[in-house]
């Protein structure tokens, strides 16, 4: 592999500390590298720079040079190069580093400038922090503590602007709190490509609005809420639900597509309140789709499966069923692209112990070239890498709407891939089907076919398959367990348990391990630590890896054995398909 060219480094001096940073870095990012915080509102690392909040003012200077000889001038008092400081403050976000640049972020002038900017920003800002949803994660609140003057000199009337405007189905706007940073406008225009927001009027009457008759309704609208530095844009769903400082943050992965956007689950006392994106510059930058933020609602759904029978009794029933159909090919295992890598590994072990065929359910929808890919399974690559399947599941032609489409994604998802299994059932070869969380009827099997076999179902929610199943193991959703997924870039990413599962539901790993143990009459590990010892020993791509070693930003694994496979993928934010994508309209 050719090493990427080393970026040109530029040495700058920030608050007296020398640091080499890549050319083109701005002062805010350079200061971040030496752990100096330059306060800012309008600047966002993933958006264009406009420099309209003026909060990131810094003092800067360049080494003085002799005009004739171009030699640096040395200060006779200190013996160091003399710095020509610019007498007025400059904005840090719009200033790119240049060799020898000197920056002061703590000088009296900078402090004065920040105080001045804060005072102006607070002139028309309502002091309603006690009832504001942003309190606790508000940049304005933080920076008035850090850089504000502490008391107000403003005796005039604050101006009045629209409150509680519904900008779209998921976003509520309070214009009085808006500090006109324009992050949301730039996001809508540059990232979501849905340019509907803008400032009308001017001066202190400037008001953020959506064009009359239009709505901020795209599938990325809630990112404007995340990047809003104040409480102007709020999520209609999360509004007034919970104070953010009570919430526990757990890292997770968006399971709706193979992009695997990194997320944070915000929960309190076993209840999830919201999902937000987590920055990963190689996967999702700082964004995530709105549809993925709805997924936690299924956790509390009324149709969650819970066991009434003890787990061991259920396992014994399953073992009995397996024993009666011990001939090779009599049992089929339907794995899932929604299972974690560890679950898929155990599914493979179970299938091997049962001498069963394995297949995966495919889910294909329309990609949006951003963070929704065509492959709507988060972990098809995990099934390939662990060896659960050796070829990609067939794209189905059935178009029932599955659970994951309940959000804002309008395009139907084509679920399928079980045609071979259907044929085997019709031929009377398969007597037992073990389904790992997959609704077989939604995936294309008929109710009649299902009636001809005994179904063992592991799943979280009630559906037609769980109703028809002989044995049902209630299991956990992605928010209730630990594990890993392999996304479309073959990046192994971790998700963690945010909330406990409902009573009567068991971790998929424990169920799978117990079933495998019952089928092979040899004990099988079910905890992640021991499982990963097995996985790294058996799966070449995961050799030398363990669960604990996977960094929070994911670990790229060797994808070369699968490079030739025709993945149903189009381009997304940080992914370009290697092979030509399979035409979706065929």
């Amino acid at each position: 592999m050719i090493a990427p060219p080393k970026p040109d480094l530029v040495t700058v001096n920030i608050d007296g500390r020398e640091i080499a940073v890549p050319k083109g870095t701005n002062v805010i990012e350079a200061a971040r590298l030496v752990n100096v915080d330059v306060p800012h509102y309008c600047y966002h690392p993933k958006l264009t720079i406009v420099g309209n909040c003026r909060m990131c003012l810094i003092e800067m200077g360049m080494p003085a040079v002799d005009p004739a000889t171009k030699a640096p001038i040395i200060d006779p008092v200190t013996g160091k190069p003399k710095i020509n400081w610019i007498p007025r403050p400059q904005i840090g976000c719009g200033t790119n580093v240049s060799p020898g640049l000197h920056v002061k972020t703590t000088s009296p002038m900078v402090k004065d400038a920040r105080e001045g900017v804060m005072e102006f920003l607070l002139i028309n800002h309502p002091l309603d922090c006690p009832i504001c949803d942003q309190a606790g994660e508000c940049k304005l609140q933080e920076q008035s503590t850090g850089y504000g003057r502490g008391y107000s000199r403003f005796v005039e009337q604050k101006n009045v602007k629209p409150k509680r405007t519904q900008l779209g189905p998921r976003v509520t706007l309070d214009d009085e709190r808006c500090i006109l940073c324009s992050r949301c406008i730039r996001f809508s225009k540059e990232i979501a490509k849905d340019d509907v927001l803008g400032f009308v009027d001017r001066g202190s009457y400037s008001t953020l609005t959506c064009f009359p008759g239009k709505q901020l309704a795209n599938n990325y609208s809630l990112n404007t809420v995340d990047i809003c530095p104040v409480g102007a844009l709020t999520s209609t769903d999360f509004r007034f639900k919970m104070r953010v400082w009570f919430l526990k943050q757990t890292n997770s992965i968006d399971t709706e597509t193979s992009v695997g956007a990194n997320t944070v689950v915000w929960s309190r006392e076993g209840q999830i309140y919201r999902l937000t994106p987590r920055r990963n510059d190689d996967v999702n930058d700082t964004w995530m789709p709105d549809s993925g933020r709805e997924l936690f609602k299924a956790v509390m759904a009324a149709d969650r499966l819970v066991a009434t029978t003890h787990l061991d009794a259920l396992v014994a029933q399953a073992a009995e069923l397996f024993k009666m159909n011990a001939s090779a090919g009599a049992i089929a295992v339907v794995g899932s692209g929604r299972s974690s890598v560890e679950e898929q590994f155990l599914t493979k072990k179970l299938a091997a112990a049962l001498k069963a065929s394995t297949q995966l359910v495919s889910r294909v929808g329309q990609g949006d070239q951003l963070l929704i890919s065509a492959d709507r399974n988060p972990n098809v690559r995990g099934a390939l890498v662990t060896g659960l399947i050796s070829k990609l599941p067939k794209v189905g032609d059935a178009t029932p709407l599955s659970r994951s489409t309940k959000g804002a994604v309008a395009a139907p998802i084509r679920t399928g891939g079980l045609t071979d299994l259907a044929a085997s059932i019709d031929a009377g070869k398969v007597k037992v089907v073990v389904s790992i969380g997959e609704d077989l009827i939604a995936a294309g099997l008929t109710a009649a076919q299902l009636a001809n076999v005994s179904v063992v179902y592991l799943g979280t929610h009630a559906n037609a398959t769980s109703a028809a199943a002989k044995i049902v193991f209630p299991t956990l959703s992605v928010f209730e367990k630990n594990g890993t997924f392999v996304n479309q870039q073959f990046r192994l990413q971790k998700f963690a348990k945010a909330v406990p599962g409902p009573q009567g539901a068991t971790d998929d790993l424990i169920v799978l391990a117990k079933l495998t143990a019952a089928a092979s009459s040899a004990p099988m590990a079910s905890d992640l630590g021991s499982l990963w010892t097995l996985i790294s020993a058996e799966v070449p791509a995961f050799a030398m890896t363990s669960y604990a070693q996977v960094p929070e930003t994911g670990l790229l694994i060797d994808a070369t054995p699968f490079a030739a496979l025709p993945f149903v993928e189009g381009e997304t934010l940080h992914f370009k398909p290697a092979a030509a994508a399979v035409a979706l309209d065929s």
Binding site: K189, D195, V196, L197, G198, F199, V200, D201, R202, T209, C210, F211, P212, K214
Partner: protein
């Protein structure tokens, strides 16, 4: 948008003056306002389609500049200067005289739709204050008497129509 053929012609012509189309936003809005008298609500979409922008981009421009009108005005537009020199020499009284003559208030359309009176910032003729701009004609040293005379003239012309 119901624009005159001549306006449409100038619009197509003025777009070619700029390296990027969006730069023609202001000239286009001026042309439409000259033609229609104000900027009707469908302007944003029409200009946006013409210049390959989004309607919100045009709305931002329209609302930023106070001289773009989003409501119709009277047949004649009387602009009375309110800035320092004119104010010192009786600009306020001149404005009030016009308001009385046409039985209206500044910023509003007079009954019958004949005139709109605006009390505007400097018209750049401080030496001959107070000054008044009626449509495109500048009238200098407009005291109350001259304001009455100008009003009578407008009323007479209106009667002739």
């Amino acid at each position: 948008m119901n624009l005159k053929p001549a306006t449409l012609h100038s619009i197509d012509e003025v777009i070619t003056h700029y390296p990027v189309k969006r730069s023609a936003t202001l000239p286009l809005l001026h042309l439409i306002q000259e033609d229609v008298g104000y900027l009707p609500p469908e302007t944003c979409e029409w200009v946006a389609a013409k210049l390959e922008l989004q309607p919100i981009n045009v709305l931002e421009v329209i609302t930023f500049y106070p001289m773009f009108r989003q409501k119709p005005i009277g047949r004649r537009h009387i602009k009375v200067c309110r800035t320092l020199s004119c104010a010192l020499l009786g600009g306020y009284k001149t404005c009030e005289q016009f308001e009385k003559e046409f039985n209206t208030h500044r910023g509003e359309v007079s009954p019958g739709g004949e005139v709109t009176i605006d009390f505007v910032e400097c018209l750049a003729s401080c030496g001959t204050a107070p000054v008044v701009l009626i449509d495109d004609d500048l009238h200098e040293k407009v005291d109350c008497a001259k304001a009455k005379q100008l009003s009578d003239q407008i009323k007479a012309e209106a009667k002739k129509r």
